[in-house]
């Protein structure tokens, strides 16, 4: 998989909302105010890879996904898609790119028109893009791709179950034969079994259509099943990235550890794993993030001499990068009990 060239390269990407500087401040070139929802993110995604982006609400993961797709304007930094810098594309260029890059939105009902039948929703992208008939999938083909029967074509969104609505949303993104899809919380609000079916479907589509995914979720268990690599986000920045099983087997940023400890995993021995409170308080406001390391206000490993300045995401092992100066100590933390078997046990 590593032999594949990068399809997406994000470099130093920032998205700032609500810059309310006065004219005088602007003229004086004072630093931009506002909320730095995404702050200097660098990330690559290889073709046919699934990268999972995980973090709490307010960490900026949805904004990062939207900025990569150009749905939200980047403030600085670049996004390269298939070798071309697309950050400053014109409207016309974007409209050509849209077909190749798609998004599966979080709320499937909100992303479907309540007044259009499924068949019309599925062919709408063709009307918008003026796709020639020879390049169009039929409605039946699109429904089949997402394991729905052709009877669904005449239904309205309110007649669909949550899982079915989600599939229609996915089918619609597939219509334009995309290469890259951002899936924002693809299973939120679904029941256990419907969620499992969507996760299986995403795996199948990746294989069948050689798709590349950025999957955004707060549930790291989902990503352990789905994604090749993990990127953990906190307050607009990536704080740990690496191959999924490496990050899960040896999480090296205190926040990653806290997140893993906080997300319950099925424990067949029913040991009532003590919910050790590895994390204090709540995520600070991105409007006014802590100086230095952004995690230091909640970190159990914080040290005055090491955390006053912002750490840089740097490689600690091949393909495994962490933004923490105290990662060797974090890795040695005796309090941490990994619920994972040794790495080689899960190698495929």
């Amino acid at each position: 998989m590593t032999a594949q060239p990068n399809l997406i390269r994000v470099e130093g990407l920032s998205t700032v909302f609500g810059d309310q500087r006065s004219l005088r401040d602007r003229l004086a070139r004072r630093a931009a105010g506002g909320v730095r929802a995404v702050d200097g993110v660098t990330l690559t995604i290889a073709r046919n890879e699934i990268v999972g982006l995980v973090g709490e609400s307010g960490s900026g993961k949805t904004t990062l996904g939207r900025t990569i797709l150009g749905l939200t304007q980047a403030t600085s930094g670049t996004v390269t898609f298939d070798g071309t810098d697309i950050t400053h594309s014109s409207r016309g260029q974007w409209s050509a790119l849209r077909g190749r890059m798609q998004m599966i939105f979080q709320d499937p009902y909100a992303s479907l028109s309540p007044r259009m039948r499924v068949s019309a929703q599925l062919t709408e992208p063709y009307r918008i893009h003026g796709t020639p008939a020879s390049e169009r999938y039929s409605v039946a083909e699109l429904l089949e791709m997402v394991n729905l029967s052709s009877e669904q074509a005449d239904k309205y969104p309110h007649e669909l179950s949550g899982g079915q609505a989600r599939r229609i949303g996915i089918a619609r993104t597939l219509a334009l034969r995309p290469e890259f899809i951002v899936a924002d919380e693809p299973t939120s609000g679904l029941d256990v079994s419907a969620a499992a079916a969507i996760l299986n479907l995403l795996q199948d589509l990746r294989r069948e259509f050689n798709l590349t995914f950025l999957v955004i979720t707060h549930n790291v268990n989902t990503l352990s099943y789905l994604s090749d690599r993990l990127a953990v986000m906190y307050l607009g920045q990536l704080i740990e990235t690496g191959v999924t099983r490496d990050v899960l087997a040896q999480p090296s940023h205190p926040y990653t550890r806290a997140l893993l400890a906080a997300v319950p995993d099925i424990d067949p021995d029913g040991l009532q794993t003590a919910q050790t409170e590895l994390l204090r308080g709540e995520i600070p406001s991105p409007r006014n993030p802590p100086s230095g390391c952004r995690f230091r206000t909640r970190c159990v490993h914080v040290r005055a001499d090491k955390c006053q300045t912002a750490p840089v995401l740097s490689e600690i092992a091949p393909g495994h990068a962490v933004a923490c100066r105290r990662w060797p100590e974090v890795q040695q933390d005796p309090e941490w009990v990994s619920s994972l078997p040794p790495v080689d046990a899960s190698t495929t």
């Binding site: 029967s149 079994s193 499992a196 299986n200 790291v220 997300v263 021995d269 029913g270 995520i283």
Partner: protein, 342 residues
């Protein structure tokens, strides 16, 4: 002192009256919760788990009726109490917290006004000591991790984050000192790290105050880590109930197995998650036999003729005819992959 469980639900039936038909939302539900025990109620949406918690609190919607069975709480049958008697139990004996704390709080009153009124309403007439109540409230809020609790009592609900609001609701429940806390998806709207904090609070309160908890959730992983026992519901019936260790290590009902196999987990790599074919039958058109028969991999002729009785198999209750309900799951690994049939 007594060996009798705190709460014993027997053969409970609940029906919702609709314009078209009477829907049997709960059918023949048996359940017991001991003192200082945490029991998880799991199942997919529409399985009746929230109706069950509303029935215990006697807070069913106006078209909902308890049509059979008993809910024994201590020495009282809750189904036989008047609304006035029930009202006296709610709070001091039985308390409930909901998924959305904001809808349980009035936006135009401060937190203190609301907590004070609730505490005053539940104290004996004329004996409410506001100063002492305020002191206890501040202590409890602080204990639950609300910083500057004294100042924050004068804030309005919108000035608190979701996690903080849920702490306030738990504080209110705890201040009344109930023997049983019913938690209906209390953490579903919260982030993982906040969920962990709230769950830790509930676990601690159980230990320190010997409070029993009925924890309603769709999160099997959470149940496996928090609860002593688990009750799996499908279509208004209990299909499997037992200790967390027994049920998660060796699930016997085909529905429980599929449900556990559908949850992605970190400690075990699977090539494919289990999915359950088909969909939950409509309550207005329940089959004569087992409600899970149309989606089950083990269905035989008998399954469609009558509803299976609850059997005790290997220290847990199972409502299934299938032979292998009596033989171990691990001897039959073939069934691990069930393909979606849609």
């Amino acid at each position: 002192m007594s060996t009798q469980p705190l709460l014993t639900i027997s053969q409970l039936d609940v029906t919702y009256r609709t314009a078209d038909a009477d829907l049997p939302v709960l059918r023949d539900v048996d359940l017991s919760i001991d003192r200082s025990e945490i029991v998880g109620i799991v199942g997919e949406s529409g399985c009746g788990k929230s109706t069950l918690s509303s029935a215990v609190m006697r807070l069913l919607p106006p078209n909902g009726r308890i049509t059979g069975g008993t809910i024994q709480f201590g020495d009282r049958d809750l189904t036989a109490l008047s609304e006035g008697e029930m009202r006296r139990l709610r709070g001091p004996e039985l308390a409930m917290i909901f998924q959305d704390p904001l809808s349980s709080l009035n936006p135009v009153f401060t937190i203190w006004t609301q907590l004070r009124d609730a505490l005053a309403a539940h104290s004996r007439r004329g004996s409410f000591d506001q100063k002492a109540a305020r002191k206890r409230t501040i202590e409890t809020l602080t204990e639950l991790g609300i910083p500057d609790a004294e100042d924050r009592l004068n804030d309005y609900p919108h000035q608190f984050s979701g996690g903080m609001r849920q702490r306030i609701m738990i504080a209110l429940a705890l201040l009344l000192g109930p023997q049983l806390l019913i938690a209906d998806e209390p953490t579903s709207a919260l982030d993982a790290t906040l969920q962990a904090q709230i769950v830790a609070i509930i676990a601690r309160m159980r230990r320190e105050r010997e409070m029993a908890v009925m924890f309603v959730t769709h999160d099997l992983a959470l149940v496996s880590q928090l609860c002593d026992r688990v009750v799996v519901m499908y279509c208004g019936s209990v299909v499997e109930a037992g200790s967390v260790q027994n049920v998660f290590r060796d699930p016997r009902h085909p529905y429980t197995r599929a449900l556990i196999g559908a949850v992605p987990t970190r400690h075990q790599h699977v090539d494919r998650l289990i999915t359950i074919p088909g969909s939950v039958p409509s309550l207005s058109q329940l089959p004569i036999g087992c409600a899970f028969a149309d989606r089950c991999t083990k269905t035989r002729a008998t399954c469609r003729l009558s509803v299976p009785e609850v059997r005790i198999v290997d220290e847990r209750k199972v409502r299934c005819f299938a032979e292998d309900a009596t033989s171990s799951y691990h001897q039959d690994p073939v069934e691990i992959v069930v393909e979606a049939a849609q």
